[in-house]
């Protein structure tokens, strides 16, 4: 099936006074209709930058290369007129902090209606009705009253629901959710994730879920791409990646997370060192200074991302042991 979003060889590079910083390298991903892909990694892994590049939202000092096609439309390098006809229509994005994404002095209803009026040419009354429908769709309690409220009158969870309502206003083919629940309490996170899973199921919408939490991915995503140092290091079906990870980083990341269902107080298997600075990436495999299975070639030669069944893997010495769980 033709992918909704087809990203090939995406590169993002920032020109800074201290020289060039390569944030994303050789990033390729095809997202099928109705599919949810989780993008996992720590700070600086390049997960947000990849999709800000796709959305055309990077600052002026960013140099983007490669290709990202939404259907037949090339997005990278497209002019503002093209991007404005796509963003918020076929391709919508929500962010971590809903408070800074909403305009503080405009009522909720108007902020949702704005999108419908601009992109669908709806009248004000139609747009208001649509705004109400959307608020009900995202399960905002007391939706009628909320239309006339301001963002500060809503809780963080309600604001994120409003952001999702705005994103859904024009029935997008694809929703990019960048750490949508990171700022929320775990109870509210579970509600928002359940909502996203339901929207994906019922509307057949494709979704990219960017997160640092493998547990978040486990509940919603069909596939997952693990990023480290600006590159995808392992990618594949969520059950394979989470239950039988082969890249030492994926495995180490899983082992370092305390699990709520895990008995015992033996020490966590922390990953020594820290995520690499994109300005000074290690030679060879970016993970080699923290890797337990490091060998000489890992320090010298960068491993290529290669297919292996349904999985893609970039490692000279992948793990073969079964994961006990």
């Amino acid at each position: 099936m033709k992918p909704v979003l087809d990203i090939r060889d995406l590169g993002v590079c920032f020109a800074t006074p201290d020289g060039e910083v390569r944030a994303v390298n050789e990033f390729s991903l095809q997202i099928a209709p109705g599919e949810c892909i989780g993008i996992v990694g720590e700070s600086g892994a390049g997960k947000s930058q990849s999709f800000l590049a796709v959305m055309g939202l990077l600052p002026a000092n960013a140099v983007v290369s490669g290709s990202a096609r939404l259907g037949d439309q090339e997005l990278l390098g497209a002019d503002d007129a093209v991007l404005n006809s796509v963003r918020g229509v076929d391709l919508a994005m929500i962010f971590q902090d809903p408070m800074t994404s909403l305009t503080p002095h405009i009522r909720i209803g108007e902020q949702i209606a704005e999108s419908v009026i601009r992109h669908r040419g709806a009248s004000r009354d139609e747009a208001r009705r649509r705004a109400l429908e959307l608020l009900q769709l995202v399960q905002v309690t007391d939706a009628e009253r909320r239309l006339d409220q301001y963002p500060h009158e809503l809780s963080g969870g309600m604001r994120q629901r409003v952001m999702i309502a705005i994103a859904l206003a024009c029935d997008p083919k694809m929703l990019i959710a960048d750490e949508p629940t990171t700022a929320l309490d775990v109870t509210i996170q579970a509600q928002i994730l359940a909502l996203l899973a339901q929207l994906k199921r019922e509307r057949g919408m494709s979704m990219v879920l960017i997160t640092h939490d493998l547990g978040v991915v486990a509940g919603v995503a069909d596939r997952v791409a693990v990023m480290y140092g600006g590159r995808v290091v392992e990618q594949g079906p969520v059950s394979q990646i989470l239950l039988a990870p082969r890249h030492p980083y994926t495995r180490a990341l899983l082992a370092s997370m305390p699990r709520i269902d895990e008995v015992g107080n033996e020490p966590l298997q922390a990953i020594a060192g820290q995520p690499p600075n994109p300005r000074r990436l290690p030679a060879g495999c970016a993970f080699h200074p923290r890797c337990q299975s490091v060998q000489t070639e890992c320090r010298e030669q960068r491993p290529t991302l290669l297919p292996e069944g349904e999985r893609w893997l970039a490692c000279h010495h992948p793990e073969t042991r079964e994961v006990s769980s």
Binding site: E42, S43, T141, S155, G157, M158, D185, V186, T187, I188, Q189, A190, Q191, L193, A194, A197, H212, D213, L214, G215, V216, V217, A218, G219, V220, V238, S239, L242, L243, A252, L253, L254, S256, M257, P258, R259, I260, D261, E262, V263, N265, P267, L268, Q269, A270, I271, A272, Q274, P275, R290, S325
Partner: protein, 325 residues
């Protein structure tokens, strides 16, 4: 049993809230009747959603916010009425680590000065050499090399800054370390390092820890007992194993069910069991049991009767009218 290090008895922290010039003053009951004892060498987790009062409780115990009623008994002495100058004599025994590692360090001081400062104040009898020795010793103990002493906080990553903050708190060998969300701002792989460090320090120095966190998986790893708060009131207080394996309070059950597990076989079904609703306004808490508006098991009498903490078995206590049903 020996005398507890710290006893908190019916502690209340109410903040006056002015609604306007002509409206009567109201009270925000941030902490409303909390009781617990902390033994020497024990780690107690304090958990709950944002706004449940967990940070305020920690700050009240540190006497950083005044308590409105109740007792704080430190090694047999009631300290809730002590003046700030009298409290200073206790500061060497009662130390704190905050959430934002960089913001809690003075940017103009070197790491050596930061870690030495508590010694200057609380151990003025030490000469320069002795002080340097203590600083080098504790820095090494928290996993930093001695050559960091001449560098400034901005040169360090979040995880290293948190180690510096822990070194500053530990240099006086406190009897109690209060940790307010100490790993929440850190990357996943770094969280594990800091959790392991705290566990090591606790074991080696025999200190107690009051661990305020919204991360229930981390609390399970580190703490012997857990106190669950909701709208300033204790819901459940139990040894860790009992709380996680056989939670009695519907709120504890809902909180635990909301924590994602990185297993795609289990997690999708867990999303469906999310606790509904959001924390009500602390200015207008529900009558009776404060949790009843979100409780899946609430009945009519939950609106009339305030549940008290009752003993389930041993040290396991729960505040729910229906826990036996």
């Amino acid at each position: 049993m020996s005398e507890p290090l710290l006893s908190v008895r019916d502690l209340r922290v109410w903040f006056p809230v002015g609604d306007g010039l002509f409206k009567p003053k109201r009270s925000l009951r941030a902490v409303d009747g909390v009781n617990f004892e902390l033994r020497a060498g024990e780690a107690l987790g304090i958990v709950g959603e944002s706004g449940c009062g967990k940070s305020t409780l920690a700050r009240a115990i540190l006497r950083l916010v005044p308590s409105s009623a109740g007792q704080i008994v430190w090694m047999g002495q009631r300290i809730e009425g002590w003046s700030s100058s009298r409290m200073r004599s206790l500061r060497s025994e009662l130390q704190v680590v905050f959430q934002d590692p960089l913001a809690s360090l003075d940017p103009r001081m070197t790491v050596g000065e930061i870690v030495a400062e508590p010694l200057r104040v609380h151990a003025p009898e030490l000469d320069g050499n002795a002080r340097r020795e203590r600083v080098a010793d504790i820095l090494q103990r928290v996993g930093l090399s001695a050559d960091v002493i001449n560098r400034y906080p901005h040169e360090f990553s979040g995880g290293q800054c948190q180690r510096i903050g822990i070194a500053r708190a530990m240099v006086l060998r406190p009897k109690l370390l209060v940790c307010d969300e100490p790993v929440s701002a850190l990357d996943v792989s770094i969280q594990a390092q800091i959790v392991n460090l705290l566990a090591d320090l606790k074991r080696d120095f025999g200190m107690s820890i009051l661990f305020v966190s919204h991360n229930l998986a981390v609390v399970r790893k580190l703490c012997e007992r857990v106190l669950v708060l909701y709208l300033g009131k204790p819901m459940e207080l139990a040894p860790t194993a009992a709380l996680y394996e056989a939670p009695r309070h519907p709120y504890t059950q809902g909180l635990l069910a909301a924590v994602p597990i990185p297993d795609p076989r289990l997690q999708p079904a867990r999303l469906g069991t999310a606790l509904g609703g959001e924390l009500p306004s602390p200015l207008a808490p529900p009558s009776g049991c404060v949790f009843r508006t979100r409780c899946p098991r609430a009945v009519a009498r939950c609106a009339d009767e305030v549940p008290e903490l009752e003993v389930v078995a041993g040290e396991h206590q729960v505040a729910c009218l229906r826990w036996q049903e």
